[in-house]
Amino acid sequence: MSGGVDSSVAALLLQQAGHDVVGVTLKLWGGDSDTGCCSVSDVDDARRVAQQLGIDHLVFNFGDDFDEHVVAPYVDAHRRGITPNPCIECNRSVKFARLAERADLLGFDAVATGHHANIGRTAEGHHTLERGSDAAKDQSYVVHMLDQAQLARTMFPVGGMQKADLRALAASIDLRTATKPDSQDVCFITSTGGRTSFLGERIPFRSGTVVDTDGNRLGEVESVELVTIGQRKGIGLPGGGPKRYVVDVDAASATVTVGSDADLLRSELIVDHMSWVDGPLDGPALVQCSAHGRALPATISQVDDAIVVCWDEPQRRIAPGQSVVAYDPTNVRVVGGGICR
């Protein structure tokens, strides 16, 4: 229970379904956050909802795991010019690993979260991972790493709900989270300081040279670690003229290459660390490269240890470190996902 409305209602629905429910809030980040040190006010909200529902509420301190598996890799990736998705890494190594393991140890049958995704069953009894029913809130992208064994012990009680109905349900029993805004950002980065101040306290920023695709020097950027592929603004180039995008970042030589929209287009991308919902698949798929991006038609195939995504039509280059998730051609089921090379 994060202290948000989705997990509040998830707990409520489980309880109404007759499950023996214990609410758990994870203490992950001990530093500053937008809701106070250790997100105290979020924990207060979760605890109060649990009290209203009449279920026990616990706080598990997984701060060390979070630092090791989420924050440190996030910082290190930026040092290497890679743009990771820390929420996905948190799901992978904390919520559906460390917490799931703890739940197992304590004798619980499943871990439920407030993610907008659905878990189904095939005729053969295999688990499927499907998009949330509220298309605007779908979070299947951020939980794509779950495999059969994990899906068997995971529940997404609100995955079938529309957000408006969910809020109305929370309001109907006067839960204090009913009108709480959705969280938007990375929990360990404050809206006041932003990514720049967070990373600036942890890694030295290096200035970088901005060049065009022919290698001509155009200018300088203050911190090459903060530049992302596809970026248009904040690369220190004068306005006017044709739109220019970051088409490459070479952290080793501190070089940022800019080019036209067309220079960004790629016919394929390579994906490492692939996980599969129900074993590897080759063939046509719809591929999504950001949490709320569109899933676009492609063909996926296995080459050595990696997956190659061949777009049906060239697409803008994806920043290395981003999660790439393949859905079945009907755009309902997650097939698998990995990290863009």
């Binding site: 997100s39 026990d56 706080v59 598996h69 890679i82 559906f96 393991e101 197992d104 064994a149």
Partner: protein, 394 residues
């Protein structure tokens, strides 16, 4: 709402809060009902309340071994600790010194002073390193206050305050010596501690009184600035309307605790030893953190190998056994123990810390049940082979 069946409670968390003495509850009731007057008022009704506060002050002074005029009633032990340190620095400037195993009510105050705070180390039992303390006092000419706890709240270690006082008086004769004696009242004769210090903190709910009442013993006239400014009700040392009911009940509880202390200590030391040896017989790899001769009779702190406290406490709670591990932060999350870290306890063992603390209501049946439940819970946690870890992909 789901039907909740509560398990029978086995309460072994007396260091967190011990049940109120029935006599203390009874004594406070009139001041919560018919005797409601403000003790600072000027009518006969107020004078009755005032007399109750003054009588309570006499009682506290007698048990603490000081003059009644040296007793300051505060809102809690933390306030007393804050008043001692912040008030001393406020009055005289200078530097505050404390060991690194103090309760956060002292440690965080000293740390908050930044440059004007000094932290000294402890030995393997958590007793302040007197050589290091002496070295800091010699190297720091303007030490205003040294604060050393009499009994550690996590592991129960007793510090020889007389020995600390000798070092402080010798190397920093102008410095004040404060002791956080919040965990002491049930186990030690406070008179023996007060004799060596300038300032001493107590908290009523640790000895069978109510929450919301603390005491600061301030010896030989004002030594520190008040923390709470206002009407000066508490002899100009602390402002705010007296908590008459709480103060009366605190005094009753302290008096009873003092009278029964020797007998309770003897009884509870036997139960505590039975608890620790019972756990060690029942389970492998259970280390008693501090040997019994160095700690109070109510403390049974152990480190259990191969488990995590957070998981163990959940299973104990499910079975109705109330225990603790280290202190929690504002979110309620368990923090790794700064006390065990300071004592040099290996991290793998500190992860499995379990604090069981006994008190005046503890029975032999509680001990038997705790051994059974802790034994079964640790078995469950150790039997489990974790699923293969999921490797982070970035």
């Amino acid at each position: 709402m789901a039907e909740v069946t509560e398990p029978a409670i086995t309460y072994l968390d007396h260091a967190a809060s011990t049940p109120m003495r029935a006599e203390a509850v009874e004594a406070m009731m009139p001041y919560l009902s018919e005797l409601y007057a403000n003790p600072s008022g000027s009518h006969r009704f107020a004078r009755r309340a005032r007399q109750a506060v003054d009588e309570a002050r006499d009682t506290v002074a007698r048990v603490a071994g000081c003059h009644p005029n040296e007793v300051v009633f505060t809102g809690c032990g933390t306030e007393s600790d804050n008043m001692a340190i912040t008030g001393a620095i406020g009055r005289r400037g200078g530097v505050a010194v404390c060991p690194d195993v103090e309760h956060h009510a002292v440690l965080h105050v000293v740390e908050h002073l930044g440059e004007r705070g000094r932290i000294v180390g402890v030995d393997a039992f958590g007793r302040v390193d007197l050589d290091e303390l002496a070295a800091v006092l010699v190297a720091t000419p303007d030490v205003t206050i040294v604060s050393v706890m009499a009994v550690n709240n996590e592991v129960g270690t007793i510090t020889d305050i007389a020995g600390v006082a000798r070092v402080v008086r010798r190397h920093a004769p102008d410095a004040l010596l404060h002791t956080d004696a919040v965990q002491s009242a049930c186990w030690l004769d406070l008179r023996d501690i007060t004799a060596h210090v300038d300032l001493l903190s107590l908290s009523a709910h640790k000895f069978g009184g109510p929450k919301g009442v603390g005491v600061l013993v301030e010896r030989g006239g004002p030594k520190v600035d008040p923390l709470i400014i206002g009407g000066g009700q508490e002899r100009e040392r602390r402002s705010g309307t007296h908590n008459t009911a709480g103060i009366v009940a605190a005094a009753v509880a302290l008096d009873l605790t003092d009278r029964e202390r020797v007998e309770d200590n003897a009884r509870l030391a036997i139960l505590r030893d039975a608890l620790v040896s019972g756990l060690q017989l029942r389970l492998d790899d259970v280390v008693e953190t501090v040997p019994p001769e160095h700690k109070v009779a109510g403390s049974a702190h152990v480190c259990i190998g191969g488990i995590e406290s957070e998981a163990l406490l959940f299973l104990l709670d499910e079975a109705g056994v109330c225990a603790s591990a280290a202190s929690a932060c504002a979110s309620g999350a368990m923090e790794p123990s700064h006390v065990l870290a300071a004592m040099g306890v290996e991290r793998s063992m500190a992860l499995g810390a379990l604090r069981l603390t006994l008190g005046h209501t503890t029975t032999a049946a509680d001990i038997d049940r705790a051994i059974d439940v802790v034994g079964a819970s640790v078995d469950q946690l150790r039997r489990h082979t974790p699923r293969s870890p999921i490797v982070s992909a970035s």
